[in-house]
């Protein structure tokens, strides 16, 4: 680590010297060197932290980005969206991953500086369950709300059997599996219940006051582990972790009234039907559209519009441009959903604002 730091510091120093030299050499035509940022070779380090939802995608993208810009080092440390935003506000990182827009009580931290939102990844949250012999379970938002509030205690409750004619449901007690750590997954799952179900009373936050009998797991992997090992368990698990653990998951009735299973295409459809604000913030939860999966969430990379260094500006444009371009093709194999085309275009167009 120490060695890498020193190395990158030397690289940055070399880059600065090179830039100074080139500026001195052609002070009259400096605009030409700034224009070809995408094709020229960049060197330096970008540090980032935040959303753990993005972590797998970032790690994979950083690896493949090496073939585009071999001299650029990008460090993406997880830590959670809250940590990412704090790090960005205190200037420790050049960009932050966040599963939610900056909350109102945090705006003061950014001291009035404009923060640009670049959506980079979409993902469905599955209702994963452990019932041997039961496949293709169907659930509606109000029933999910009652299950997670411990109002429905057994799997053969009339509320569930009514949605699943022809499926033989056992009398197994329902075990609620939820996150023990604070999470954007919890925030978006509870946002879905707030938007869709008037009977949901627990509100929405990154941590929720769950029923006492629920079982907490650390990370999506921890919840998946509980669901996998506990008969009768149901938990909200990120699609990629549910796939990795081989869990069964339910189809959920969407706003249009159709039962839709979580998938890459149904998540992209949900994001495509979201109302996108001019600053590219939106919510993919409970959006209209016949094929939209209703429990879908998204994550942004947050970047200051104003940048002090030209090199950092170029590197940010190159890397985030890569995430929005070729990087999107990496998402399906990781079981995340790519951005819908219209949103990707808007985000790509916004790249030019960095450093302006």
């Amino acid at each position: 680590m120490q060695r890498v730091r020193t190395h990158s510091a030397v690289m940055a120093g070399a880059a600065l010297t090179a830039m100074a030299l080139s500026l001195a050499a052609c002070s009259s035509s400096s605009s030409s060197s700034g224009g070809g940022s995408s094709s020229s070779s960049l060197s330096g380090t970008l540090n980032a932290s935040g959303s753990t939802f993005q972590l797998t995608f970032q790690q994979t993208a950083i690896q493949s980005f090496k073939s585009v810009q071999p001299n650029m080092t990008i460090n993406y440390g997880g830590g959670g969206s809250g940590k990412g935003r704090t790090d960005l506000a205190s200037g420790v990182v050049q960009f932050a991953g966040s599963d939610s827009p900056i909350p109102s009580d945090e705006t003061a931290n950014f001291k009035g500086k404009t923060v640009l939102y670049f959506p980079v990844v979409i993902g469905p949250i599955t209702m994963s369950y452990n019932l041997s012999g039961v496949t293709g379970l169907k659930l509606t938002a109000p029933v999910i709300a009652d299950i997670f509030q411990a109002k429905i205690a057994k799997w053969n409750d009339p509320a569930i059997t009514a949605l699943n004619p022809g499926v033989k449901l056992p009398s197994t007690p329902i075990v609620i599996a939820r996150r023990s750590d604070s999470s954007g997954t919890t925030a978006n799952f509870s946002q879905f219940l707030v938007d869709s179900s008037p009977n949901w009373k627990l509100g929405t936050s990154s941590t929720i006051s769950w029923p006492a009998a629920s079982r907490g797991g650390n990370g999506n992997g921890g919840v998946a582990q509980i669901v996998k090992t506990t008969p009768g368990a149901i938990g909200y698990v990120d699609y990629s972790d549910a796939k990795a653990s081989g869990l069964s998951y339910a189809s959920v009735k969407n706003k249009a009234g159709n039962y839709v299973a979580p998938s890459i295409s149904s998540a992209t459809s949900a994001a495509d039907n979201a109302t996108v604000a001019p600053n590219l913030t939106f919510s993919s939860v409970w959006t209209p559209g016949a094929q939209s999966y209703p429990v879908t969430y998204q994550s942004w990379d947050l970047v200051y519009q104003k940048q002090s260094s030209t090199n950092t500006t170029k590197m940010l444009k190159a890397y985030i441009g890569y995430l929005l371009g070729a990087g999107q093709q990496l998402l399906p194999q990781l079981n995340y959903a790519p951005l819908p085309a219209s949103l990707d275009q808007k985000a790509t167009a916004q790249l030019s604002k960095i450093g302006s």
Binding site: T52, T86, E106, S182, S205, S206, A213, S214, R215, N218
Partner: protein, 326 residues
């Protein structure tokens, strides 16, 4: 210039440590300055940590007032009462002490009074190995191996005590293996080495003449321990126990993994709960605003509690060791 030499003149011979030489060598003085700086550095860092965490926690203290000791912790409704976590920290610490202290003191007596020295050495090594196990390993072992296993025992105990007044409310039907009690057991494993080694040191200070005297009066080994060792090392063992409690109170990741993460105050020891360090570790990542300040504030409270416990413990150990050497 002349005033400087005048001042330096009387100052140097006054140093009582080196009366023979006129002035202390430069190396000696530099060494003194460096060691003093190192000592002060620790103090300064401690004060800075206390100051900055308190400052970061200020929005919580402002928003809640005495409500910081409220029973409801619900970020969704912006209620941040810490009592459930203080309760969890206390109850897991107590469970850990109840299990670890008798075992630790027994081991310490075994090592000092029962087995010969050459056998004591390997036993000490093995016990110290317990302290080497990283806490995350304890936590993972706890949640993946120990909790599912002990959940069955909980279920048996739970059904056995149904209907019995007090026991039912303590050991009532469990929900899963992750609970106050599991966290307490894991903590007991973790604090056994420290309580054992401190107790052993305290017991070792008992003067041989007291013990020989007891034997000379015809005391058996047990009577000797009761009459000579115990009165002498009581205070020190209390200190060792309190240091163990300090360790248990601050333990984070092992507890975070096994305690079940539910902000509830209940007499049911087999129910999931939460503790102060565990909730900080679990919820910090996505916290913002007052939520974040509240977690910082929990850190301040925990810092204060552990300092109090440690100061009392050091005082108890110190007094006992002084008595021993006197």
């Amino acid at each position: 210039m002349s005033t400087v030499t005048q001042q330096a003149g009387p100052a140097t011979p006054a140093g009582p440590a080196r009366p023979l030489s006129g002035r202390r060598p430069l190396g000696d003085r530099t060494f003194q300055v460096i060691t003093l700086a190192a000592g002060l550095l620790v103090l300064v860092i401690l004060v800075l940590i206390a100051f900055s965490t308190t400052q970061q926690a200020a929005p919580w203290f402002k928003a809640e007032g005495w409500g910081i000791f409220g029973t409801t912790w619900n970020p969704a409704t912006n209620q941040f009462g810490a009592l459930a976590f203080i309760y969890g920290t206390a109850i897991t610490g107590v469970i850990a002490l109840i299990m670890a202290v008798p075992v630790s003191v027994a081991i310490a007596l075994l090592l000092t009074e029962v087995v010969p020295y050459r056998w004591a050495r390997p036993i000490v090594y093995v016990i110290d190995l317990l302290a080497v196990v990283p806490s995350v390993v304890w936590g993972l072992w706890g949640i993946l191996v120990f909790a599912p296993w002990i959940a069955k025992i909980y279920a048996h105990i739970g059904s056995a005590v149904t209907g019995i007044p007090v026991l039912d409310s303590l050991f009532g039907p469990p929900t899963s293996g992750a609970s106050f009690f599991t966290a307490g057991i894991i903590l007991a494993f973790m604090i056994t080495p420290i309580v054992t080694s401190l107790s052993r040191e305290v017991i070792a200070t008992v003067p041989a003449i007291d013990k020989e005297g007891a034997y000379a009066l015809g005391a058996t080994r047990l009577e000797m321990i009761q009459g000579a060792v115990w009165p002498h090392s009581k205070g020190g063992i209390v200190g060792a126990v309190l240091l163990g409690l300090g360790r248990a109170m601050g333990e984070t990741i092992a507890v975070a993994l096994v305690i079940g993460s539910s902000a509830t105050i209940t007499s049911h020891l087999f129910a999931p709960g939460d503790s102060m360090p565990a909730v900080i570790a679990n919820q910090f990542g996505e916290a913002s605003g007052v939520f974040r300040a509240a977690l910082m504030g929990l850190g301040v409270l925990l810092f204060a509690f552990t300092i109090i416990v440690n100061v009392i413990a050091r005082a108890a150990v110190g007094r006992s060791v002084e008595q021993g050497s006197a």
